[in-house]
């Protein structure tokens, strides 16, 4: 059979998860399968036993006392259950029975993976022409021609001292703008309102809000609630008690972009949400700690995945960190999962983001028909944190660092 032929000369489809063991893995942990935890491949029962004390932490997640969630977890075991759930959701959607009380239904035949629904959006905002804009701001499709020019070229720019200063200023302003957005985020406040505040705060600081019209994005920041992984479009939905909400701000100031994001608690959130957000933040902090000249970009993912998995969570793989300076998104590409083929080694003068997206359940993502909103495939929660970093001669400078409250994340305030 082809599979045995492959194992003699070919790369194994799966590699044993025990740290340090590189053997081909043809076995899988049945508990993980039952709990719908992806991966968990091992080469042998013995190797698995050796790693058991650490591995079993993946099974141990805070379980809700709610019967429906336990039943849901049990029913995952039955084939067809996922489809059944989706069919019910779709039926609810079409027939107007919805978890949200909005009649707005732009995609009647779309089967949402979770309970979040889109709300109407307000009209596109303008930025005064006196503020310097990136090339895509005025392109009819928002196409970033300058980025396209260097696309594929993997050489990573080393910034001059002047450019580094430009980045420092842009990033400091980005943090200030995010501060403003965070201040208004609360129960009953629509994400559109957060966007309005962010938009105005950027303009006040002579900044163009980078997301606006980037590849046609309609708003000035991304607001990602609950199961939305990233790129959520601000709309008229009011934040609810128990939501987690990520606000992703990027500003363009005097030819440089600064990019950061944080996930906030809205009101009282569940214990699993707390753990998820805390773990995600820790993933970012741990990866920042290893940034220094000589480190390969592909190592970032190993660290993040290790920590996320230790808490029973998964790492979103479809989106990655990116180089940033005069261009919004450019080389290097920084995946957040282990065993990736990221090109490049960190050098003094490199500027880039690390922005891990960590999910409660599956790592898989889906996209809403708006072609932007990324959601978890199972409708469970996802959190994210991001900073823009500069590699120094000896380590790293967190350009978007929060200056007050000892640099702690907002959810800890």
């Amino acid at each position: 059979s082809t599979s045995t032929k492959m194992s003699a000369n070919g790369v194994a489809a799966h590699c044993c998860e025990t740290p340090g063991c590189n053997a081909e893995a043809k076995l899988q942990c049945p508990t993980c399968i039952k709990l719908n935890i992806q991966g968990s491949f091992f080469c042998s029962q013995n190797c698995f036993k050796g790693y058991w004390e650490s591995h079993k932490l993946r099974h141990k997640k805070p379980r809700s006392p709610w019967f429906s969630e336990q039943l849901d977890q049990y029913l995952q075991y039955f084939p067809g259950y996922a489809y059944f759930k989706r069919a019910v959701t779709q039926f609810k959607n079409i027939s107007g029975i919805s978890d949200s009380s909005t009649p707005y239904n732009p995609w009647p035949y779309y089967a949402f993976s979770g309970s979040l629904r889109p709300y109407p959006q307000t009209t596109k905002k303008e930025v005064p022409p006196s503020i310097g804009r990136p090339d895509y701001a005025d392109d009819p499709n928002g196409f970033p021609h300058s980025e396209q020019k260097v696309r594929g070229a993997a050489n990573i720019k080393c910034l001059s001292d002047e450019e580094k200063e430009g980045m420092r200023v842009a990033c400091k302003l980005a943090r200030e703008v995010l501060d403003e957005g965070v201040k208004v985020a609360d129960i009953g406040v629509a994400t559109d309102e957060i966007d309005r505040v962010v938009h105005e705060a950027a303009i006040e600081r002579e900044c163009y809000p980078s997301p606006l019209n980037y590849h046609g994005f309609p708003k000035s920041c991304c607001t990602s609630v609950n199961e939305v992984i990233c790129h959520g479009i601000p709309d008229m939905r009011p934040l609810q008690n128990g939501d987690i909400c990520n606000i992703d701000v990027t500003v363009y100031h005097r030819n440089f972009h600064g990019d950061l994001n944080e996930t906030l608690f809205i009101g009282e959130v569940s214990s699993i949400a707390k753990n998820l957000v805390k773990t995600t933040w820790e993933c970012l902090q741990k990866s920042i700690e290893i940034v220094k000249p000589g480190v390969k970009y592909r190592e970032v993912g190993s660290l993040i995945q290790k920590h996320a998995h230790s808490q029973g969570f998964s790492v979103v793989r479809s989106y990655c960190g990116h180089g940033i300076h005069q261009l919004f998104h450019t080389a290097p590409s920084v995946p957040h999962y282990a065993k990736n083929k990221a090109v490049g080694v960190m050098k003094p003068g490199h500027t880039f983001t690390i922005e891990p997206m960590i999910s409660e359940g599956t790592w898989k993502d889906e996209q809403w028909p708006d072609n932007w909103t990324a959601v978890t495939a199972d409708g469970k929660l996802s959190a994210q944190f991001e900073e823009t970093l500069l590699v120094t001669d000896t380590g790293v400078e967190v350009l978007t660092q929060r200056r007050d409250r000892n640099g702690q994340p907002y959810f800890m305030d």
């Binding site: 194994a12 489809a13 076995l27 995946p335 065993k339």
Partner: protein
């Protein structure tokens, strides 16, 4: 900042003393191979495609014409051959943020289509005549972790045996002292491209091929055929070569190349020896195949250094000071204190080092590589490798 006590862990009944379960066999969903088909206009790609679709009528084969270009087109057509029928389908290229997205939109479009219409048996991606297959290969050679439904099987280049005369944009000189041909770089006409100086696309297509189909052999005589073979082998000494007329080929040779996840030892051994043939010294090719083999093992940091110098930093040069530019590299490496053999696969700047089988006990540990690229010199690569390798008599 709180500690673990902040977050109470609600424990279910089976959490208390979880016993170690018995592992179960992994159920792998089969992935769909994608082959990149390249070659100059008129070489015979279309003939080959039609032949495949006709001969493999019991398989569901998708043919995509033209690579995914840049720009903001929303749809791309794709032909599916099945049961002798050929029908059109549409790939939705969804725009939106491609920026921080790891998968190319073309990949996502194919995956979405397969989700709706079922999986293909294989996918053939036919590029335009002047395409550089390198970046296309990079798109489809995805991290295993992404769990994509498709994988890159290999690159097939179709050549017209009357090659030298048919090539449009390159300039060709007949070397006065031998019957071999030289292809010159066409820097004066195509200077909009890469800063290192331009290499003719045809050369790149040959260099990156895993399978070279030398077609229209009925139109050339033996001397010409040998000349083309020699030329092409010098550029790429590490590809399978097949001679055809009207692209009639044994289809088993075409499929399951596994060029990126398997190491073909026979092919490697052959490439070690086929470099040495009459007239080799007359060829002054900018793009060549070089093989190196050194006894010993590498450490993770020496491997990092080797990769960095060759692929990323590009600090290695030839004797004339011109920088080495690797297109493709394959190797089997011995790593210190590892009983497994490691396979290195490289295309452009992407590399992967994966365990693949075990060293036989008491067999000598070696590191061997075949490299295809610009400005390669055997001695220079050999020297570099020797600085990265340590000899050791015993490993655990």
């Amino acid at each position: 900042m709180g500690d673990e006590d902040d977050i109470p862990m609600l424990v279910g009944e089976d959490d208390e003393d979880e016993t170690i379960p018995e592992l179960v066999k992994v159920e792998d969903k089969p992935r769909v191979p994608l082959t990149i088909l390249t070659g100059y206009l008129g070489a015979g790609k279309t003939t080959l495609l039609n032949y495949i679709l006709k001969e493999q009528h019991n398989k569901k084969i998708a043919v995509i014409l033209n690579e995914f270009g840049e720009g903001s087109s929303m749809e791309k057509s794709l032909s599916i051959g099945h049961e002798g029928d050929l029908f059109e389908e549409w790939l939705e290229l969804r725009n939106g943020c491609l920026c921080c997205s790891v998968k190319d939109k073309g990949v996502k479009a194919i995956e979405n289509l397969m989700r709706k219409r079922g999986k293909f048996d294989y996918i053939l991606l036919e590029t335009t005549g002047l395409a550089d297959p390198g970046p296309i290969a990079s798109i489809f050679w995805m991290d295993r972790q992404l769990g994509s439904d498709l994988y890159l099987d290999g690159i097939i280049t179709v050549l017209d045996a009357k090659y030298a005369e048919k090539v449009g944009r390159s300039r060709v000189l007949l070397a006065p002292t031998s019957s071999t041909f030289m292809l010159l770089k066409d820097s004066r006409n195509l200077n909009e491209k890469k800063p290192e100086g331009v290499v003719n696309e045809a050369v790149k297509q040959v260099a990156l091929a895993d399978l070279l189909i030398i077609n229209k052999t009925d139109l050339v005589d033996e001397t010409q055929l040998k000349a083309v073979t020699d030329l092409v082998s010098t550029i790429n000494g590490s590809a399978h070569m097949v001679y055809t007329q009207r692209c009639r080929i044994d289809l088993n040779k075409l499929l399951d190349l596994h060029a990126y996840d398997k190491f073909d030892n026979d092919l490697f051994e052959r490439s070690l020896s086929t470099r040495f043939f009459d007239g080799a010294s007359h060829l002054d090719q900018r793009v060549q195949t070089v093989t190196v083999e050194v006894e010993g093992s590498m450490s993770p940091s020496s491997m990092d250094y080797f990769i960095d110098v060759l692929l990323w930093d590009r600090s290695l040069t030839n004797s004339a000071g011109e920088p080495v530019n690797i297109y493709r590299m394959k190797g089997i490496v011995s790593m210190i204190a590892e009983s497994q053999r490691f396979m290195l696969q490289v295309v452009q700047q992407l590399y992967e080092l994966e365990p693949i089988g075990y060293w036989e006990i008491d067999s000598p540990r070696t590191c061997k590589f075949v490299l295809i690229g610009e400005n390669l010199e055997q001695e220079k690569i050999d020297d570099l490798l020797r600085t990265c390798v340590t000899l050791s008599s015993e490993f655990s």
